[in-house]
């Protein structure tokens, strides 16, 4: 990694999700040098795990393919996967950044032929599918993974399986001695686009996530609906693989809640509306109930809400559900709460429940000793008095893909200005 030539005219983009990729491309296509760091073994971040975008119901890989094509065509971008920032110091126009690269155990000779995975017998929880299925410990993170290069799970290093993988590779691409490495970078501006993590649904203890098998989260639903997901795109009950007849969505599961995330994540309403479409397309008779506080379908997304409301099988009930109880025999779920429109008590049974959990930011504070402001929730505040480090996308505010890309584009210009000011 010693060949990374950077100067205080370089822009560092941290996070290779849709926001980070966009910032990197927009700046590079205007003629600036960019280094892009991604902690996963592949680029694309959280959107690669989505089945479709709202409101067009189109696959994220379509836009990613174009972005990867732009990236391949642009020599001004250097990108690193399995890379994380270990420290930032300095000031606008002159940052020193320490980058840590985790071992992939697979080098650049990998052709993606897949022989290592064939040879490997050990399986690990599949992080791409939120642990809903297993994957070989030598794996391609997902079908459209870019770069198309395998990864070895550290658990098989030093085992027979590790050796089997190495022996299976005809191209000497497996390096079991790979160690964590680090290198230093210079940058004139930093765009922090590290995105978000799904809020831990288990913390909303009255919904019994993790105990009630048929309670899943919205991000898990995306994987389930996706053709490269754990069920090959078929939405079924996790407990018994049965088809679903009656499903509930619980909005604001841990959002707009001072005990959890006090803010609104802005996307979960339309995300659930979108997921009602996934279900209704697969199950023409499935009943869907959405429990909500306010339905927040901003601007033209209102059309999507209007469209979903026209579906007679989708009901909307204003209520924050208070408890979920599992029926041990059937795995069905009993939801209780108050219908706040009628004042009636709700006690209804569903065969599956989706928790619309919110977005928790990946904060910069732990690695950054340079001056940067964050709000009380950990989102970067983009204080104009502290130029040089800019938050983009969901590192700055919880928001949808289009707004993240828009924000990432503006961050590219801010970063350029930080350099132009030198």
């Amino acid at each position: 990694m010693a060949d990374v030539q950077t100067t205080n005219q370089s822009i560092l983009v941290v996070g290779g999700g849709i926001s980070g990729i966009t910032t990197a491309l927009e700046a590079a296509e205007a003629g600036y040098d960019v280094v892009l760091l991604e902690k996963n073994p592949y680029l694309g971040g959280r959107v690669t795990q989505l089945h479709q975008y709202f409101p067009k119901l189109c696959p994220p890989s379509c836009g990613l393919e174009i972005n990867f094509k732009r990236l391949k065509a642009n020599p001004r971008i250097r990108f690193f996967t399995m890379a994380e920032v270990a420290g930032i110091s300095g000031k606008e126009g002159d940052y020193d950044v320490k980058v840590k690269i985790s071992p992939r155990y697979v080098n650049e000779k990998c052709t993606g032929c897949g022989k290592c995975a064939e040879a490997c017998t050990a399986e690990v929880d599949n992080p791409f599918n939120y642990g809903m299925d297993k994957i070989k410990a030598a794996y391609l993170p997902h079908g459209f993974a870019f770069p198309m290069r395998y990864v070895l799970d550290p658990s098989i290093v030093g085992t027979d399986d590790g050796k089997k993988c190495k022996d299976a590779c005809q191209y000497d691409a497996i390096d079991l001695d790979m160690k964590e490495t680090s290198f230093d970078l210079k940058a004139g501006a930093i765009v922090w686009a590290t995105g978000w993590n799904p809020y831990d649904a288990a913390k909303v203890e009255y919904y019994g996530f993790g105990e009630n098998k048929n309670v899943i989260t919205n991000v898990m639903m995306e994987r389930m609906a996706s053709m490269n997901g754990p069920t090959g795109g078929k939405i079924v009950r996790p407990s018994d693989g049965k088809e679903i007849k009656n499903i509930a969505f619980i909005q604001c599961a841990g959002s707009r809640d001072e005990n959890h995330l006090a803010y609104c994540s802005g996307i979960c309403c339309v995300a659930s509306l979108k997921q009602t479409r996934y279900i209704r397309e697969q199950y023409p008779d499935c009943e869907v109930t959405v429990f909500f506080i306010d339905i927040r379908a901003l601007d033209r997304l209102e059309d999507f809400y209007t469209m979903v409301k026209e579906d007679q099988k989708v009901k909307f009930i204003k209520s924050k559900i208070a408890t979920i109880t599992e029926d041990g025999a059937t795995g069905n779920l009993v939801l209780e709460g108050e219908n706040t429109n009628t004042g009636e008590q709700i006690k209804a049974t569903f065969d599956m429940v989706v928790l619309a959990t919110g977005m928790a930011p990946n904060s910069i504070k732990s690695v950054c000793s340079a001056d940067v402001s964050c709000d009380e929730y950990g989102f970067i505040a983009n204080d104009p008095a502290k130029a040089g480090i800019y938050g983009a996308g969901c590192a700055r505010r919880p928001t949808d893909v289009a707004s993240s890309v828009q924000d990432a584009t503006s961050s590219a210009l801010r970063a350029i200005q930080s350099i132009a000011r030198r």
């Binding site: 009255y206 959890h260 209520s319 208070a322 706040t340």
Partner: protein, 193 residues
């Protein structure tokens, strides 16, 4: 016929009821109502109480059963996404009602009275005699009838060592306890009676 909105009652609550101002923060999600173990007994769950206050429905609120039923289980308060101390508000309203001379629900008041008397007399609660005494307030025949209805529960309590067959004795230091109770009563905060 439309009911008129009147903000004056809300103001009265904000100014006079313990934690009353906090109900401004209610966003009407209803989790308090769904979480309350006594929700089936309540005429208006907490969320609706807050709506009624907002609308200025003084009588409905002050005469509601709900505000005197709260058992302080804390579920609503712990879960409220707006951090409203629902329990404090419900107790506060009940208390404000008493201050204003609005008699609480008869049964609850009578039960409270018997409860207080027994604590004052023996320093503890006798799980057999308290319901019996309370039931007898209804009159002899209905009282016995009500008590017999409760027998299965009594047997279960006995089997689980929650109730003794012999009458409970006075606690040690009953005099000290009575002093404390007297003082509490004097301070006017310790109990309903």
């Amino acid at each position: 016929m439309a009911g008129n909105y009147d903000p004056s009652f809300a103001k009265e609550v904000f100014d006079n009821v313990d934690s009353g101002e906090e109900i401004k923060m209610c966003m009407q999600c209803g989790i308090c109502a769904g979480s309350c173990p006594l929700r089936h007994e309540m005429d208006y769950p907490p969320r609706q109480i807050f709506t009624l206050i907002r609308a200025g429905r003084r009588d409905e609120v002050m005469n509601s059963k709900a505000i005197k039923l709260c058992t302080s289980c804390y579920r609503c308060k712990v879960r409220c996404p707006r951090g409203i101390p629902v329990i404090d508000v419900m107790h506060g309203l009940a208390h404000y009602g008493i201050k204003k001379g609005i008699i609480p629900r008869k049964g609850t008041a009578a039960f409270g009275g018997e409860f207080w008397k027994m604590i004052y007399n023996i320093g503890r609660i006798d799980e057999k005699t308290l319901p019996l005494k309370y039931n007898l307030l209804e009159g002899l025949v209905p009282g016995i009838k009500s008590t017999i209805e409760m027998a299965p529960m009594g047997i279960q309590m006995f089997l689980h060592h929650r109730m003794k067959l012999l009458p409970e004795r006075k606690i040690k230091g009953i005099k000290e306890l009575r002093k404390m109770l007297d003082k509490a009563k004097e301070m006017g905060k310790g109990g309903a009676n």
